[in-house]
Symmetry: none
Subunit: 198 residues, 4 copies
DNA sequence: TATGAATGAGCCTTCATTCAT
DNA sequence: CATGAATGAAGGCTCATTCAT
């Protein structure tokens, strides 16, 4: 008889399983749509009984929130780390966009869900924190673009417009990127930056 | 006593009402989400009884298709007209993007629904025609970008990547544009083109 | 310009159309089922607009009642006439069953509807008259069977049971009779009587 | 503490409950009519929530099919067993009709539903199996009647017509039989057979 | 921890019916 | 006399969720 796992080990197994569920849910939701996927359907694809999901999540919407957190948290963390490292604004932008595109590409499913459910995120009561992180990330990028514009280096037509354009193109990447495509992540990111900084 | 309306007049009234319903539905769906809006809710916002909608549409999904058609049809038509008018590739691109941005901005609700429901459009059986029009439009833009690249005028990193970027930024406009904002449609469109053609 | 039809002519046309509708409805209901046939469907098969039916009938159930009346009224009338004509009980039974089978066969659709909707007829408030006519007819047949039994002619096991058997076999005819089948109406009727009277 | 039920026990409980539901549904449908009974109404009479029914049946029509199966399966099985036992054709017929009448009487509700919904059974796509069993049973009876006719014992007017008559009278029994009536099942069955074989 | 049964609410849709035209 | 538009109610069914086991 194996030794009874301790409390910590149990917690770890629980967390691992929870993260797996979030990942799987993102995959399923991205394909079928969040609303069009019923909890029983989702459970079946995850190889679990419908009721079993409720051990890991209070409900369907909390699962959606978890997906968005799993998407936004590391992105924001990494962006802040990059900005702390120093370098010119353009160097920082290039590094940031590379990291960002990589993140988008690795979390394509999360991104697709995120975009699908924009109207919930924008208006929902419980979504304030997700909105706030998105806002924080956008401000980071905006700050960089302003620094570049101020450096005079660029003929940026308008920092806000450029920000919007960049957001649009990078996030849109989730919708067309295919793993073994012609361009790798770095090439894509550099292409975007080249467009933006001329 | 007014003259009894003829068959043609009846048809016209029917069509007008139908178009109104599509427009209204786009507005409601954009705000609340397609799936989260029940048919009774939609009907109430349109000032019609729930069952009455079914005189104009076979079902909820057909309504969604109609929204996408109302979005794509005139855009494609106008794009084709512009390309037929002649001019350099860059001039044509500038004109096309202006028209495109204007369309996106005027049909913001349609665009938001379109993006929300991407997974249905991409996979659904009945969505082939919508997919095909989207593809056709993208090819039009791609052709222009290739012509520009071939003219040597531009340091386009990659025509396909540029296309994706442009699609991303223009379509994303629907998510942040506000009617009386700082930038008008022409400024936005020109900003985008400037990014792309350097 | 043809002369304006008089009130009587109008009434006649109305009645003719009404009878046509009853006939057509019986046909459609027999095939599809009364409940499974929606009023629009019925109207379409009759070549009339849905609302138009309501010029001839107060509602769907009244149409069903009319079908049953069109079935029962002439049957009862004819049975009474036959009994008034004299003859031995067995002769009268033979004549009655011939007339009855002929009626069932000619009104197959009515019969099928009648049997389908037995539970409504048995319990419904407005169905008392139909029930009463059915009862009256059954009593006529029962009387004949008793007279035959009393004549000692027959080894009828039990007049009531024989009545039930006869009702069962004759009414069931509607379910298998086909117009150009092997047996004609007289042969069928005589076969039934032969079974019953030995 | 009772032992946790195993998989087999669970399955058994499920099957038992399912059979109860079929039985109850037959009762309710016989009284109110299949179409006139809504699923919520049915559920209420069965003491279950509306949605709960769908654990046991895919839909309302499958429930109807189950009712017909519960009616036909044991009847056919028993008939085949009787025929395998040997005896003269007439003895077998008498035994078969007794068993058949007993079955009809015990499954009166099933029979009434079966007859009500004849049009669905006759035409529906999913009803082929039920139709086939009905046909198989009829052929069994027909075979017996032919053997009797060939034995020369009987002045059967026509084997096919006699079959139809027998079907009509036996099945019609469901519509008039009352549990504590004057005649018991054996008397009824024998009465029918006496009519048929003279 | 995980399950299968069960629930109540709500979904999309269709219905029988009415009525202005 | 007939139509097409519209309605309110109800239909069958699925949903997210709970809970005893």
């Amino acid at each position: 008889m194996p030794p009874k796992p301790g409390r910590a080990a149990l917690q770890e197994r629980y967390d691992r399983r929870q993260a797996e569920v979030v990942l799987g849910a993102a995959r399923v939701f991205a394909r079928r749509g969040y609303d069009q996927t019923s909890v029983p359907q989702l459970a079946e694809e995850l190889g679990i009984a419908a009721g079993g999901l409720y051990h890991y999540f209070g409900g369907k919407e909390q699962l959606l929130i978890a997906i968005c957190d799993q998407l936004m948290d590391p992105l924001l963390t990494e962006a802040q780390a990059l900005l702390a490292e120093g370098g010119t604004a353009e160097e920082q932008l290039r590094a940031l966009v590379r990291s960002w595109v990589a993140h988008v590409v690795e979390h394509r499913d999360h991104m697709l869900v995120f975009q699908q459910e924009r109207h919930v995120i924008d208006h929902g009561r419980q979504w304030a924190q997700v909105r706030e992180r998105r806002k924080r990330f956008e401000r980071l990028v905006e700050g960089l673009l302003r620094r570049i514009a101020d450096d005079g280096a660029a003929r940026l037509p308008d920092a806000r417009l450029t920000l919007s354009a960049l957001l649009g193109m990078v996030n849109h990447t989730a919708q067309w990127y295919r793993p073994r495509g012609r361009l790798d992540v770095a090439a894509i990111a550099d292409g975007y930056v080249d467009l933006v900084v001329g």
